[in-house]
Symmetry: C2
Subunit: 155 residues, 2 copies
DNA sequence: GTTCTCATGTCAACTATATTGACTTGAGAA
DNA sequence: TTCTCAAGTCAATATAGTTGACATGAGAAC
């Protein structure tokens, strides 16, 4: 696990702008950093990191999800999922049980402790977003979401 | 180097929303992915990846930057910079020379080939942003930037 | 009832990106 | 001549991911 994460390169560096859209590229970069910084620090103090949070986040929103479906959503291989998932099971932040009828797949659920950590980590991120949206007002928030959807759906 | 990057977990996954701000968290995640996807594919075809692009991006905007200053801006350790930087020098995408007076530090510059790759990779990202901004109009763009600045500056 | 399929689990080897710590080198300054 | 400081290098470690190969165990098909 990483130490506490040095506030690294947070400058919003004073780089010359070669293109008018350079500011937008940098805002995406530093925006992602800004949103995840405190959450990552919190997770590191729990001995966890971003992949663990992604697992907790998805399972919280899809209780009784099977492992195959989780792999699909996370977009990583079974083997890559294995380690962080087992850590979460060992730490009893997740439980896995086979369903009575579909005995083939294992169903994942958060424990109370898992819910608590997922919530606190996500709360750090939501706090950042809430403050930004408060300053921007309802129309600014709607505009932000519209732009982000256009960017996200650029597949 | 990674292969071609499987379009992984691109679902904009249909997860139940536990909080009203969950959509915003997911938009940040998929937005970052959407912006960087094509650029990363292009870079992978050149045998490069995101850290190499970050180096090229910064040096393009700060010609004659010293290695220490670059480390500062990137927020990584000297040792972590070493490998990708040496690759870029070997490939002659960067040049390093000592300055006449300040002979202690090395000054980095892009070669023509380095400029070309930096530009093409960044162009993929700018293209995504430009399309999103065109749909959103000038006021939507301004609102997006204001929100992102608030998020980024949450340090 | 044996065989086929399929979800899951696990082992090994590899790559990439990062870290810290300990050192060297070489130039400039005191 | 010694001290400082930027840069370079080596080793060990952690994390996050990959592919390939193979085991297990349950359900379904024949």
């Amino acid at each position: 696990m990483p130490k506490t994460s040095q506030a690294a390169g947070l400058h919003r560096a004073s780089l010359a702008k070669l293109h008018d859209l350079d500011a937008a590229l940098e805002l995406m970069y530093y925006g992602w950093r800004g949103m995840t910084l405190e959450a990552d620090d919190y997770l590191a103090r729990q001995g966890l990191s971003r992949p663990h949070h992604r697992i907790l986040y998805v399972v919280a929103r899809r209780p009784d999800i099977a492992i195959g479906a989780l792999i699909e959503i996370l977009g990583i291989s079974k083997q890559a999922l294995n380690r962080p998932l087992n850590l979460l099971l060992e730490r009893k932040l997740l439980t896995s049980k086979r369903s009575p009828e579909q005995h083939r797949s294992k169903l994942l659920r958060l424990t109370a402790a898992g819910h608590r950590i997922e919530q606190r980590a996500s709360d750090h991120e939501r706090k950042v977003m809430r403050q930004a949206f408060e300053r921007a007002g309802a129309s600014g928030t709607a505009a932000w979401m519209a732009v982000m959807e256009a960017i996200a759906d650029n597949n």
